[in-house]
């Protein structure tokens, strides 16, 4: 390898004492079987992902469908066993404690699903939906449970709660359903909330309401939030840091405004350029879109996974060596060879485009 100033990919990331959740070299690979037996390879949905999440911090993981963001989320929720790597919650490996450990861990984590209607059992009333998690953590007293349910429903602005307690999901509007989902996620007082595209199924006017509600809950409870989305235009209203994911890897990590104003990775730049703000001038010009489609995760391209679509690629480097993380700007990390000092020359073209 080179002697340049980058963090070597194999070194563990600096552990900070107060990290609530720390993901280390996580690999979520799914086995592919031939005729039902015999290993035929892996779908490398998440491939060597590391990051730390602190208490009270909201991060967004942004990527297109098939980039592995849902697999990453499932691993964090303890729903799939990683192939390799660790997920540490308060310093403990979440898979080390067996079933009991996982059960305890899951009570610490709230999950807000994407499609509220699909996430709520159609034959259960709002009250039963919210009561079940409390029964599972052993809250025996019925009155106590009901009091907690009322409290959470007020918090998500389903008020007065008595109007909603005995309703079934189909009797609620999309926004109200999503509030029930958020209430269910919050009912056990989690420290970490995982929100998978919580507003993508909602209309514009309701979307903002739910985003604001989530933000409010996050601030009041000092919650750590992982917000998973494909929509870069909503992350600004919600998170402090953005991680951009492409083909199973995190390719850029930066503070929200820093990333939106100074994207460094060619893929992030393309993603930002493809998003339109409402403006009549949009109709008069074509948008620049990188050719091709994201690679197959069974046999991802060697080197940088974006190189086949990247117009700045350096032949002989990008197509052979996996780029490590470079600190392109203070606190702004990107996995792109252009930020290696050897390639300052080649970086000019990208920098010119970043200016524009």
């Amino acid at each position: 390898m080179t002697t340049m100033t980058h963090t070597a990919p194999a070194a563990p990331p600096a552990t900070s004492e107060n990290a609530l959740l720390s993901v280390r070299h996580l690999k979520v690979w799914y086995e592919l079987r031939k005729w039902g037996f015999g290993l035929a390879g892996y779908v490398k949905a998440v491939d060597d992902v590391s990051f730390d999440l602190h208490e009270g911090e909201a991060i967004a993981i942004v990527g297109e469908s098939g980039c592995g963001k849902s697999s990453l989320m499932k691993a964090i929720l303890g729903l799939v066993q990683p192939h390799d790597g660790q997920i540490l919650y308060q310093g403990q490996d979440i898979f080390a404690g067996g079933r009991a450990g996982l059960r305890w861990y899951r009570a610490q984590v709230g999950y807000v699903q994407q499609d509220p209607f699909g996430a709520l059992p159609p034959f259960m009333s709002v009250r039963r939906i919210l009561e079940e998690p409390l029964i599972l953590i052993g809250m025996k007293n019925r009155e106590e449970r009901l009091a907690r349910i009322r409290e959470v429903m007020e918090e998500v602005k389903l008020s007065p709660p008595d109007d909603f307690l005995n309703k079934f999901p189909h009797m609620l509007s999309g926004g109200q359903q999503q509030r029930v989902v958020i209430a269910r996620a919050m009912i056990r007082n989690p420290k970490l909330l995982v929100a998978d595209e919580p507003v993508s199924m909602l209309d514009a006017s309701v979307r903002v309401e739910i985003l604001k509600l989530l933000r409010q809950i996050q601030e009041e409870h000092n919650l750590a939030v992982i917000y998973i989305t494909h929509d870069l235009s909503t992350v600004r209203y919600f998170s402090e840091r953005i991680f951009v994911m492409y083909a199973g890897k995190l390719i850029e990590k930066a503070a929200t405004d820093e990333l939106l104003w100074h994207p460094q990775h060619p893929y992030t730049l393309a993603l930002l350029n493809a998003i339109s703000d409402p403006d009549a001038a949009n109709a008069r010009k074509l948008r620049e879109v990188p050719p091709g489609e994201p690679p197959s995760l069974v046999a991802p391209p060697p080197g940088c996974r974006f190189h086949p679509r990247c117009k700045y690629r350096i032949d002989g480097v990008c197509d052979t060596d996996v780029p490590p993380e470079f600190e392109a700007r203070p606190g702004h990390f990107t996995a792109c060879w252009l930020y290696d000092e050897r390639f300052a020359e080649q970086r000019r073209a990208l920098e010119a485009d970043l200016e524009a």
Partner: protein, 343 residues
């Protein structure tokens, strides 16, 4: 060349007092309620509105693709000046649908027939609508269309499941284009797709529009993406058209209070403005209020809002709101009085 709706030339599509009500177990749903609308040649109009506002029903009413539970379906629809509501179903099928008016349905990627090769599906409308064309010629034309929308020719003989979502969407667009229609109605063409694919599809649509002058009606709830294609913007709320403006004016300053609030709720990538939401919910279309349907949620509401406002003409723009009564130069389409007797 700012986008002024051309009023002098004959519009490609014009609807007058179009009504589509559905029968349900709970009562009559007034999905499309007295809509007057026109679209000039070679322009793209975007119909925006939230789910349940009747925008898809409006497209269905224009295309006469009706479900079984239709209660009322009346009004006038003119295509190039011809009253197509007067045609019987067979004539409509032969001469209008897909020959002159085609549709890219919602979730078009799932609308393809899974057991037919995509080439056959794309060529099919041509085989049905032109009697003197051979299968080979139709396939040749399909190949041309594939090139046009950016699907590699090697994909011609594949089945839909072998294509990605973006490619299937392009195939659906090719299928709508192949008969060289006067107007293409696109129902949420990009909402299920990723950002980059979305931008790609919009590029394809723009190129087709610039090169062939096809007119589009794009139905969407995604305001930001709609601006990619819009010459005109029509806003629907609770079954009614509440504003119709050219895109230039609309995106800089929407008129109708609902349109203004909707625009304030659209997240901007880098803007600083705080997002606002619209309190309350749209009225039920089973029993909509008799006055302005937005009045209940409107911060500008006053006494007059208890009556149904007409579509006021403000310059070249049309808006269904009493706030514009004074500055209006006239009233477009059917007046509320006519609406009242029409029921």
């Amino acid at each position: 060349m700012t986008g002024q709706p051309a009023t002098s030339a004959q519009p490609v599509l014009k609807t007058e007092d179009l009504v589509l009500y559905f029968r349900t177990t709970k009562g009559i749903v007034q999905a499309v309620d007295h809509v007057d609308f026109e679209l000039a040649e070679s322009r793209a109009v975007v119909v925006i509105g939230e789910s349940g506002c009747g925008k898809t029903s409006f497209a269905k009413a224009v295309l006469r693709l009706l479900p079984r539970n239709v209660d009322t379906y009346r009004g006038r629809v003119y295509l190039d000046g011809e009253d197509i509501m007067a045609l019987n179903d067979e004539e409509f099928r032969l001469r209008i649908r897909w020959a002159k008016l085609s549709l890219v349905p919602q979730a078009a990627m799932n609308a393809l027939n899974p057991v037919l090769r995509v080439s056959d599906q794309v060529a099919e409308p041509l085989l049905i609508h032109s009697h003197d064309i051979s299968k080979e010629e139709a396939l040749e034309r399909a190949r041309e269309m594939f090139r046009y929308v950016g699907v590699p020719e090697s994909f011609l003989h594949r089945y839909p499941f072998e294509l990605s979502g973006g490619m299937r969407q392009r195939v659906a667009i090719a299928m709508a284009l192949i008969t060289n229609p006067r107007l293409i109605i696109l129902d949420e063409p990009t909402s299920a797709l990723d950002v980059l694919t979305q931008a790609n599809i919009m590029n394809v649509l723009k190129k087709i529009k610039w090169e062939t002058g096809t007119s589009y009606m794009l139905i969407t709830h995604d305001v930001a993406t709609s601006s990619e294609l819009a010459d005109d913007v029509a806003v629907m709320y609770a079954g009614q058209m509440v504003e119709h403006s050219d895109a230039e004016s609309f995106f800089s300053e929407p008129l109708h209070p609902y349109a203004r609030m909707l625009m304030a709720a659209v997240p901007k990538l880098r803007g600083d403005a705080d997002l606002e939401f619209i309190p309350g919910q749209p009225p039920s279309l089973l029993d909509p209020p008799s006055g302005c349907r937005f009045a209940e949620r409107c911060p500008f509401r006053f006494d007059k809002c208890a009556q149904d406002p007409p579509m006021f003409m403000v310059g070249d723009r049309k808006v269904k709101c009493w706030l514009f009564e004074k500055e209006a130069q006239g009233v477009y389409g059917s007046t509320p009085a006519a609406v009242a007797t029409g029921d």
